[in-house]
């Protein structure tokens, strides 16, 4: 049975409500299942929406092919519309769901601010839940491509990223990575169509390594989960630290997922290092920092890290006070663009933005810039990718950045200290850091 006609009727009801409410509320956009409805308030004209219905001839042809198939395949094939289809594969469930929300909000804000159009074309968002499950990533990505998206944004988790690369590698579907830091995306699996707007795990840790060495520390213990992002981050730190004579006294890898770190605190307390470098994110970052504080190690063994306080300061509370971390963004960066971004974000969503909002915002700004440059003709891939590469991120909240040859951001990294629920800027410790991108053919 072909769901095509069914889909047409069912989805129009919620859309009418959203449409009649004079603009597409944030909830409608986030509920997203209804792909046909544009998420931008201004540009939705009634005529464009209705004309986008399904032509009869197309139903009959596809219906016939499916006559015997036991599986009911929701097969939506629509007449080409002026809309620009952008696929979004971010997590709505599981441990990293809040990152998905923040990235989506940042992206939405950027596009809203420039009139809601990409190169004069309305945007049709097709959102799928990545469930932070790498095994389902290839399937979900292929579905977005199948729906006609020639631009895909996502994911958060590096395992999901590898699954996406398997499907999108070597195709001309443009992939914009707003968070996952796996080096492979801009390393051995890099490609003309793959751009990252966040940072590689190596890139964020390397400056911290050099900085601690410059501060005169000689022996540091490293710790993270036993998974790709963790090992890459520790490797980046080690390279930075060793380049200035530092030495790693012990490398601890906790089996993932670890909820109770206290047994490691016992090990850390007995270590002879002068400081510890840690890489954890989300719930584990909260647990690690809180338990580190409760173990009273903050004064005996200073804690430095990456991603330890991103979006988790409210949950960590007093335990994170004074924690020094490095990242390509700080909440109180003295740039005018940052102040404007933060006030616009708070006004639009009522919450303070964090680094994921920034990365979402930059992804949105990148899309606006490139679509404008090619006048909305994103099908001309070489021109579109060239336009993407030409992005200078002048008005980015994190400060100007541009793409390296491997299409990973070349950006400054700042030392920040956690204070009063914010990662406060201390100093710029590394400028124009470029990911080594081993094995990338573009370099």
């Amino acid at each position: 049975m072909n769901y095509d006609s069914l889909k047409g009727s069912v989805s129009s009801k919620p859309v009418r409500q959203a449409f009649s409410s004079g603009g597409v509320s944030r909830q409608a956009f986030l509920s997203g299942g209804v792909s046909r409805q544009a998420f931008l308030s201004g540009g939705v004209s009634r005529q464009a929406f209705l004309s986008g219905g399904v032509s009869r001839r197309r139903i009959l042809k596809t219906g016939a092919a499916f006559a015997g198939a036991a599986l009911a395949a929701p097969y939506v094939r629509r007449a080409e519309a002026a809309r620009l289809k952008v696929g979004v594969l971010l997590p709505n469930s599981g441990v990293l769901a809040f990152l998905g929300t923040k990235i989506t909000q940042g992206m939405e804000l950027a596009i809203n601010q420039s009139g809601g159009l990409l190169g004069g074309r309305e945007v049709e968002w097709i959102r799928l839940d990545s469930e932070t499950d790498p095994a389902k990533a290839p399937e979900r990505t292929a579905r977005l491509v199948r729906r006609g998206c020639d631009i895909v944004v996502g994911p958060v988790h590096s395992g999901v990223l590898l699954g996406m690369l398997r499907v999108l590698g070597g195709t001309n579907t443009t992939l914009l990575i707003p968070n996952a830091g796996a080096g492979a995306a801009t390393g051995e699996h890099c490609g003309e169509n793959i751009f990252r707007t966040s940072f590689s795990n190596w890139q964020a840790a390397w400056p911290m390594g050099r900085f601690l060495a410059q501060r005169g520390l000689r022996r540091v213990t490293t710790m993270s989960w036993n998974y790709a992002a963790g090992t890459e981050s520790v490797q980046g730190f080690t390279e930075g630290f060793a380049s200035l004579g530092g030495e790693i006294s012990e490398g601890i890898l906790a089996p993932y997922p670890a909820a109770d770190f206290h047994s490691y605190m016992t090990k850390l307390a007995a270590s002879d290092a002068e400081a510890i470098y840690a890489f954890f994110s989300g719930a584990s970052a909260v647990q690690f920092v809180k338990q580190y504080h409760e173990a009273g190690l903050r004064d005996r063994l200073p804690l430095y890290g990456v991603f330890l306080t991103e979006g988790t300061l409210e949950a960590q509370g007093v335990a994170a006070e004074g924690l020094e971390t490095t990242m390509h963004y700080a909440d109180d960066l003295p740039f005018e663009a940052n102040r404007a971004f933060r006030s616009a974000y708070r006004e639009a969503y009522g919450v303070d933005p964090d680094v994921f909002s920034v990365q979402g915002y930059d992804t949105g700004a990148l899309l606006v810039h490139a679509a404008q440059a090619v006048g909305g003709d994103t099908d001309d891939k070489p021109a579109f990718h060239a336009a993407l590469r030409s992005f200078r991120g002048v008005s980015s909240p994190r400060g100007a950045w541009h793409f390296s040859r491997a299409q990973n951001p070349v950006q400054d990294f700042y030392l920040r200290r956690a204070a009063g629920g914010q990662n406060r800027y201390i100093e710029t410790i590394a400028q124009d850091v470029t990911d080594p991108a081993q094995g990338c053919t573009l370099v």
Binding site: G68, A70, R143, S158, R166, P255
Partner: protein, 361 residues
């Protein structure tokens, strides 16, 4: 059952003689269910699946392939749990062992000749079967809910082994290098050849499990479920029967794992989570236990529903599967096929009245 020839001659003679009493109705129903349990529906299912190779776009072929792979897995689990009452909550473990064995065995990255792929898949199945046999010897000493727990432990052991041991690429999984070479003469691209292999595997699986269910071995497995002590007292060693079934179903799961590894040429430890094993059980129960086509129907319903829900309600699609599982558990413990088979209004009344003491206990 295996005594078919004797009873058929017998039943034809008797059907004519006795009046339209309860016996003849039972016999007619048995004959009908035997047809439904046989491979005949393949005649209606295979042609459209084969035709689809040339007409359906690649993405939807890949989704059909996913359904066929899960149908193979569900048929295996149904033979084990439905017929032999060996309820396993760890089938995903052997599925993942097959996928990873194939991934590690895979050869060069450009197109592979069909034969070497087939060999790779069979070897992956054998490896998974080997593990099933090794683990089965101790595991099958337990009964009932303890067996459920043992298989849960087995599945989790495979998950953490694949997740923590560096050789298996940790939590991000491995890229698989093998994919079938295109066949120009039939104008089939690599992925369509892969789809054809999946359809063929599905056809063989249906025949295999149909033969198994009809075989003496299948009868013994069923007998070991209803009256194990009696079977032993009659001179049959029960453990080897169950071990053979466990090993065989493990090998088929491994073979299906190899097929899954080739679908997107990417394997990940998440293939071994107990959630997948749980979903397989949902398929078996939903379709209808101890029915050849129950498992296939269950797989179609669950995968079709999941696909729809994920697309229409990306935020809260889990509610659909959750409600489905609860509804089937409470009202349709014997599955949809059972319900469909008995669908006549008089019977519906009888069924509703007798729902308290359901026949399956």
């Amino acid at each position: 059952m295996f005594l078919r020839s004797a009873t058929r001659r017998n039943s034809v003679r008797q059907a004519a003689a006795s009046d339209a009493s309860h016996e003849s109705f039972t016999r007619l129903r048995n004959l009908a269910s035997r047809w439904r349990d046989g491979p005949a529906p393949l005649v209606f299912l295979l042609p459209p699946l084969l035709v689809a190779t040339w007409f359906v776009p690649d993405y939807d072929l890949q989704r059909l392939a996913k359904f066929l792979i899960f149908a193979i897995l569900a048929m295996g689990l149904d033979f084990l749990a439905g017929r032999g009452h060996l309820v396993s909550l760890g089938q995903a473990g052997f599925f993942a062992i097959g996928a990873y064995s194939f991934a590690l065995l895979a050869g060069t990255c450009d197109g592979e000749p069909l034969l070497s792929l087939l060999l790779g898949m069979l070897v992956a199945g054998l490896i998974a079967g080997g593990f099933a046999c090794l683990a089965g010897v101790p595991a099958l000493r337990t009964r009932g809910v303890y067996f459920l727990m043992v298989t849960l432990a087995l599945g989790q052991m495979v998950f953490y082994a694949l997740h923590d041991i560096p050789l298996f690429g940790g939590s991000d999984g491995i890229f698989v290098c093998a994919s079938p070479r295109a066949i120009e003469v039939l104008s089939l691209s690599g992925s369509r050849v892969y789809y054809l292999m999946t359809v063929a595997s599905f056809g063989f699986a249906v025949l295999l499990f149909w033969c198994l269910r009809r075989s003496f071995f299948g009868t013994l497995l069923g007998a070991s479920a209803t009256a194990e002590v009696r079977l032993a007292a009659l001179g049959y060693a029960v453990l080897p029967i169950r071990l053979a079934a466990f090993t065989l179903v493990g090998a088929v799961a491994g073979y299906a794992g190899a097929l899954e590894a080739m679908r997107f040429r990417f394997v990940n430890p998440e293939l071994a989570t107990w959630h997948l094993s749980g979903l397989l059980l949902v398929m078996v129960i939903l379709g209808g236990r101890n029915r050849l086509w129950g498992a296939v129907l269950g797989a179609a319903l669950v995968i079709g529903l999941e696909d729809l829900l994920v697309y229409w309600f990306p935020d809260h699609w889990q509610i659909g599967i959750g409600v489905l599982a609860v509804v089937v558990a409470l009202f349709l413990p014997n599955g949809v096929l059972f319900f469909a088979r008995r669908l006549s209004f008089r019977r519906l009344g009888v069924w509703l009245v007798r729902q308290k003491e359901s026949p399956l206990r």
